[in-house]
Symmetry: C2
Subunit: 179 residues, 2 copies
């Protein structure tokens, strides 16, 4: 499957509204509990998504366009969400995510990317050369990966409550592949 | 974690809108492709959710309340979605799911369940005795399990497009625990 920028944008556009529809007003049982020590709550995951908007996808795209392979991306701070969530409510975070995602998609459109731009390369601090196309596809897949995590963290809260059905529910067999 | 009926209803109420926000108008690349032979597309998963509304959660709850342990539930037809999706668009299915879920939540409220009702038992064709509480918790967790599956099926479509990032994306390590 080739990367298609319009398909990527179609997904990126929808994630904030999907998160709002799923999470806004939910009891904190669903949103503020984790899967155990050193794991994230739904609330923290939304903070991480905001942090990615601020420091990852658009800043790295800009680096590919400006510096190509002459300068590596800044490593992504996987604890950067801690500052994002301090003193905030989940509703605050959902609104902030929608706002910053919308701004970033506007910025992406202003890049007016052509096929030749999507093939341009930057340097990832761990992987080495990556294309702009791979970076943008990962932006969309990263949304899906954290939606996947969110459903798993939520389902975990009902692990005991479902009784014998736990063996039929795929989400409860998922070992949590991402931190 | 104990089952809490209000928490269950809070989640069940939100799933249809979350699916609409995520899926309505998306290119069919995201919604009509599968993870390979004998796996479901997002479109089929939504059909399965509708089929569950029609034949599983409320009908089984009614059986617990009417027959208790004297009569086992009908086995759930895991291919029942085939009839649900025939000749339909994804938008049709999303509307139908929202309508039937809303009707079922209204029916659930009319049961006016008390704590003593939630402890009542029915008979699952494979597990034997289950409580009404376990059945209702599973209704909510089943939504989450299929949201989990939907994000995985979608992310699979970008497995190649993300290049080296595939190893960082948890959703791409998920082996698909439910059919």
């Amino acid at each position: 499957m080739k990367h298609d920028l319009e398909h990527t944008i179609a997904l990126l556009t929808r994630t904030p509204a999907a998160l709002k529809a799923l999470l806004r007003g939910l009891p904190e049982l669903w949103t503020h509990r984790t899967e155990g020590e050193n794991s994230w709550s739904v609330f923290e995951v939304v903070g991480h998504l905001i942090h990615g908007e601020r420091t990852d996808w658009i800043p790295r795209s800009r680096m590919v366009l400006q510096f190509g392979e002459s300068k590596a991306f800044e490593p992504f701070d996987r604890l950067g969400h801690v500052r994002e969530i301090e003193g905030k409510s989940l509703d605050d975070l959902l609104d902030e995510f929608a706002r910053i995602r919308s701004d970033n998609l506007e910025q992406l459109r202003r890049f007016n990317l052509q096929e030749s731009d999507l093939a341009r390369r930057g340097v990832h601090p761990a992987f080495g050369a990556v294309t702009l196309s791979e970076l943008l596809a990962t932006w969309a897949a990263h949304d899906l990966s954290h939606l996947h995590q969110i459903t798993r963290v939520m389902a975990h809260q009902y692990r005991e409550a479902v009784g014998p059905w736990s063996e039929y529910l795929g989400v409860l067999q998922c070992s949590g592949h991402s931190s």
